[in-house]
Amino acid sequence: MPIIEVRSEITGNVWKIVAAVGDRVEEEAAIVILESMKMEIPVTAPESGVITEICVTEGSTCSEGAVVARLQV
């Protein structure tokens, strides 16, 4: 079972982590919600899978391209 990286497409502040390690998420489901330029922007699962790691903490800054979570697909 391969593990893929879920990366952020934008730079923002981690506002909410909405999924946890062990959760099964469907493709397009939000894992983390970032706050950037007054907008709430979800980082979503590129495919369905099970979350093996959340790599950010609420309140921290997340750069464009940074790994937000890892997913077993």
Binding site: E9, I10, T11, N13, E35, S36, M37, T61
Partner: protein, 467 residues
């Protein structure tokens, strides 16, 4: 007369307010967060006060720090710009309680218009049309008969929406186009609402299938007198934010235009409104009917459209009124508009990626030449209100808007052509922007033909967002 003005904002609006303040002989005080210490608005001010960390909730939104900065710097007035604390009635009260002048409407107006239900009641009392709707009714109420529902539907008008009172965000509504479909839609909405929200209460509201967003700029003298400065069409929107604004509103009947301006002025008079405000309407693009949406009790982002068309410096009017100085206007006859003005908002964003924001450092930021002064070159002028310069960083902490480009021309086509040429001459590197998207919008035959509505970008996305 205001002598020293604290501008409680950042970016282009802080820079723009300072320009008018300086023209009136005032000294200016900027406030800034840690990441904004070298920002353009700080460089333009006579003095600057650091008010906290990068998140707005720890700096620009902390009323006590902004007020302390004003008092400590010896300012005798506070201009809030738009956003941040501009529509915070408690902050306005605190400024006035500290003995400073608040450059904005009374805290009561901010409160009244901020409460959407109260605003509707006041608008109706002023004779302003509001979106027709029914009272709430419940399936369990024995007083509700098919006759009362039919009467409510007839009063609301078709097409209408049956909406679940407990719903929201587009969930729990049914569209009904004629009386024949009414009973079934009400029954299914009630059933669905009872199941989804535990509450089957519903109400009826007029549905505007093809809506335009048109607003009227007003200015109240604070004594019951008020003038309007004509309308702006702001129908081109993405993520519920405006992208292009223009005046006059294309293709709107003169009678509609006049009625909207008069209704907006009546709402300002009703409150003895003080200063600049904007009354927003939804316009049915097919029927031309208009309905009150809300009133914004601040200077708007798009106010330069009105300034370019009327030659009025709205911020100067705000500052003169707040300082107790005579205004260069006595009544409606003193307000004249000419030609056409149009504004495009330049955002740091990626249109093809759902308008996601883009951050980075502006390694290149070159703008075409404009008149030296705010309202220079009218008519047929070009104006650019920017909040950044080359070398600045666009961070994720604040709004993605980096500049506004505003053009005036004798006709709509002339104004669009001038704006189009100005956008083509802008060079930006270091962040992605909506520059190409803006030019495609201006070039689109439907836009050129004046067929603007709030669903415009979505309807034409194949062309506007092509890679």
């Amino acid at each position: 007369m205001i002598r020293r003005l604290l501008v409680a904002n950042r970016g282009e609006i802080a820079c723009r307010v300072m320009r008018s303040a300086r023209l009136l002989g005032m000294s200016t005080v900027a406030v800034h967060s840690e990441v904004d210490a070298t920002a353009l608005h700080v460089a333009l001010a006579d003095q600057a006060v650091a008010i906290g960390a990068a998140p707005a909730t720890e700096s620009y939104l902390v009323a006590a720090r902004v007020l302390a900065a004003a008092v400590d710097s010896g300012a005798d007035a506070v201009h809030p710009g738009y956003g941040f604390l501009a529509e915070n009635a408690a902050f306005a009260r605190a400024v006035e309680a500290a003995g400073l002048r608040w450059v904005g409407p009374t805290p009561k107006s901010i409160d009244d218009m901020g409460d959407k239900a109260r605003a509707r009641i006041i608008a109706r009392a002023a004779g302003v049309p509001v979106l027709p709707g029914s009272d709430r009714f419940s399936p369990a109420d024995p007083a509700v008969t098919s006759a009362t529902i039919e009467a409510a539907a007839a009063a609301t008008g078709f097409p209408l929406l049956v909406k679940a009172a407990a719903g929201g965000g587009g969930i729990g509504m049914r569209r009904v186009d004629d009386p024949a479909g009414l009973a079934a839609a009400i029954e299914s909405t009630q059933t669905m609402a009872a199941r989804a929200f535990g509450d089957g209460t519903v109400y009826l509201e007029r549905f505007v299938p093809k809506a335009r967003h048109v607003e009227v700029q007003v200015f109240g003298f604070g004594d019951g007198r008020a003038v309007h400065l004509y309308e702006r069409d702001c129908s081109i929107q993405r993520r519920f934010q405006k992208v292009i604004e223009e005046s006059p509103a294309p293709g709107l009947a003169q009678a509609t235009r006049t009625a909207m301006c008069e209704a907006a002025t009546a709402l300002a008079r009703e409150q003895a409104y003080r200063g600049a405000g904007t009354v927003e309407f939804v316009v049915d693009a097919d029927s031309g009917e208009f309905f009150f949406l809300e009133m914004n009790t601040r200077i708007q982002v798009e106010h330069p459209v009105t300034e370019m068309r009327t030659g009025v410096d709205l911020v100067a009017w705000q500052l003169l009124l707040a300082g107790g100085d005579p205004l260069p206007v006595a009544g409606q006859d003193d307000v004249r508009a000419q030609g056409h003005a149009i504004e495009a908002r330049l955002y740091a964003e990626r249109p093809a990626k759902g308008f996601l924001p883009s951050t980075g450092t502006l390694s290149v930021f070159e703008l075409p030449a404009t008149g030296a002064a705010l309202l220079d070159g009218l008519p047929d002028g070009l104006r650019i209100d920017a909040g950044v310069r080359a070398g600045d960083t666009i961070s994720h902490w604040y709004d993605p808007m980096i500049a506004k480009v505003i053009a005036h021309g004798a006709t709509r086509d002339a104004a669009i052509d001038r704006l189009r040429a100005a956008l083509a001459a802008i060079r930006i590197e270091g962040v992605e922007t909506n520059l190409v998207f803006l030019q495609r919008t201006l070039d689109h035959p439907a836009f050129r033909g004046g067929d603007v509505f709030t669903g415009f970008i979505d309807a034409h996305k194949a062309v506007l967002l092509a890679r």
